[in-house]
């Protein structure tokens, strides 16, 4: 029985020592190197008798950061990712909540690390950590420590945005990641020949699929340089040159590549799995990808950080119309989905309700924040007999006639407009079917009861109106159309709704 993800690394290092474990295009670690570096890092904590403590990692996305995660996990501690580009104020708030025992940084980020006001003794540098060899006795001590890890111990704490501006640290255990990784590997057929092309930042939990599915299978993980995402043809060339066959990207990136019309300009036939999650994937752009890669598997995954990457998935296996919502599908294995209406009863087909999740994928809660934990992780209202927690996602969904789950929008994006209850997501899906609209976001100005549509693209207001009139009732047509040069994005690369809300309130 697997108790920790470290066992994945040991197995892959033993079976595929020379395989590329992780590369960023410049630096590369084989499985043998990754294990050696993880042991060197673990050794520092084991020798100090630091166990089950938080360790912050502030290293840019690179093989070094992956080695740091593995070293922390191997020592029985848990890591939290600090993005070095985050505003200082946000980093300080995270550190205040996490209270890390140590922070692992590197020479490149030395200045930033020293500016955080931490005791210098608490700052460790990657280059120093991996400089010393681990003796045979020390290896024995590391393995003894490793054997003390149980699957309900914490693997990582990832910080997400909190509505009050204070980030919330989502606590995820080894068990949850093992469950998820086993499911993903079997469902998508990952093996030692899989080559992942990672897009997600390491503080965004989409990266958990890339990292642990690679390590579990002895596969290769390519951390795609950020600049490739600015120049999409370079991105496709990176995929081609490194023979990447599996990508798990946010829809914004896939859509941009599709909209630029460059998919047939580069030989990317190596791609076998195209997975996406994090926001709604517009069907029109998905269809452009499917036409270009008719033999690849396309899957829409869904899930908030609180339930270990994803809790539902949909392998696209039928034609999806351009104005249709791509389903989020069915529950992942060992996960139960409850769609509850306002009376906390299960909904029928076509009826909307809040998506709630039950299973070992649930986070342990929010770090150092019992109030927020109690509000989000609650007793299953259908179970009166024993303690059983569910996570209320705040996402509104319904089942279609094929019994596929369809995402309708956020609970807080369900608005009352001119007396009608409206899902803003429904308007956005309809707008995205207009081929001259590249991206859009609908916001409700509750003070003036206005539906404000922000969009990017060459479309004129009149053409969007005409297109919407054919798809939506009159009361769902936006009152104000605002064309933007591009959508504001938050740190995870998703549309920054908070910023747009502020703009809408200025009207």
């Amino acid at each position: 029985m697997l108790c920790s993800i470290v066992q994945y690394l040991r197995q892959s290092a033993s079976k595929y020592p020379k395989n590329v474990a992780v590369s960023d295009g410049k630096n590369l670690l084989s499985y043998c190197d990754l294990l050696a570096n993880a042991e060197k890092i673990a050794n520092v904590f084991v020798s100090k008798n630091i166990f089950k403590k938080p360790i912050a990692v502030m290293i840019e996305k690179s093989p070094a950061s992956i080695a740091a995660f593995m070293g922390v996990a191997m020592s029985g501690n848990y890591y939290s990712v600090i993005d070095e580009r985050m505003p200082q104020n946000r980093i300080e708030k995270i550190l205040e909540t996490l209270k890390p025992e140590f922070i692992i940084s590197n020479n490149r980020n030395r200045k930033k690390a020293e500016s955080l006001g931490l005791d210098v003794q608490k700052i460790l540098y990657y280059e120093d950590l991996v400089a010393n060899e681990v003796s045979a006795d020390e290896k024995v001590a590391i393995e003894k420590t490793e054997n003390r890890i149980i699957d309900t111990d914490i693997l990582y704490v990832l910080f997400t945005s909190g509505s009050t501006g204070v980030p919330k640290g989502v606590i995820i255990t080894h068990r949850s990641v093992i469950d998820y990784t086993e499911w993903a590997s079997e469902t998508f057929g990952f093996n030692h020949e899989t080559v992942f092309g990672n897009q997600a930042p390491l503080y965004f939990d989409n990266s958990v699929l890339d990292i642990y599915s690679a390590i579990r299978n002895g596969a290769s993980l390519y951390l795609i340089p950020q600049m490739c995402f600015a120049f999409p043809i370079r991105l496709l060339e990176f995929v081609r040159d490194n023979k990447i066959n599996t990508i798990f990207w946010v829809p914004t990136v896939l859509s941009r590549v599709a909209d630029l019309g460059i998919l047939d300009k580069c030989d990317i036939d190596c791609l076998r799995n195209v997975l996406f999650a994090g926001e709604v994937m517009p069907a029109r752009q998905l269809n452009v990808w499917r036409k270009r890669l008719p033999n690849a598997l396309f899957a829409n995954l869904y899930g908030p950080t609180e339930i270990t990457v994803d809790c539902t998935y949909y392998i696209v296996n039928r034609d999806i119309r351009d104005d249709e919502s791509v389903p989020i599908g069915h529950p992942c294995r060992n996960t139960d989905i409850l769609v509850l209406n306002n009376d906390n009863q299960l909904v029928g087909i076509g009826e909307k309700g809040e998506l709630c999740v039950r299973g070992s994928s649930l986070a342990l809660g929010y770090y150092n924040n019992p109030e927020k934990t109690d509000a989000a992780f609650v007793q299953n209202p259908l179970n009166f007999l024993y303690r059983e927690l569910i996570y209320r996602t705040g996402d509104i969904v319904h089942y279609n006639e094929l019994h596929e789950i369809i995402y309708d929008g956020r609970k807080d994006s369900q608005v009352k407009h001119t007396g009608h209850r409206i899902e803003l997501g429904e308007i956005e899906t309809a707008v995205s079917s207009n081929k001259d609209v590249l991206n859009n976001c609908c916001i409700h100005n509750s003070q003036k009861d206005l539906l404000v549509l922000f969009y990017v693209g060459n479309a004129e207001e009149s053409s969007i109106r005409k297109c919407l009139s054919a798809l939506l009732p009159d009361y769902m047509l936006p009152n104000v159309f605002i064309k933007l040069p591009c959508m504001p994005l938050n740190m995870n690369g998703k549309i920054d709704r908070v910023k747009l809300q502020e703009e809408a309130l200025k009207l």
Binding site: A230, F231, L260, G261, I262, K265, P485, C486
Partner: protein
């Protein structure tokens, strides 16, 4: 307005904190991230009434004001 001045104005609008006039390569010096490239491309297309081909969105065409202007001009030619 002078075309180069207009491009500098767009850059300043995107990232007012950077000194573009003293950079030899905007991309290598880290003055433009992926979000800025998307925004700048849209701004150029709208102002200069051109369509920039996806194949032309490459680092060398965004390295300097001269390179960006050349990109705009070549896009005009191909429209």
């Amino acid at each position: 307005m002078d075309e180069k001045k207009k491009i500098l104005e767009m850059l300043a609008e995107l990232r007012p904190e950077f000194d573009y006039e003293n950079s030899s390569n905007f991309v290598e010096d880290g003055l433009l991230d992926s979000f800025d490239i998307v925004s700048l491309t849209t701004m150029l297309e709208e102002y200069f009434k051109v369509t920039i081909d996806g194949m032309s969105i490459v680092p060398e065409n965004y390295a300097s004001v001269d390179a960006i202007l050349a990109l705009v001009k070549s896009s005009k030619g191909s429209n």
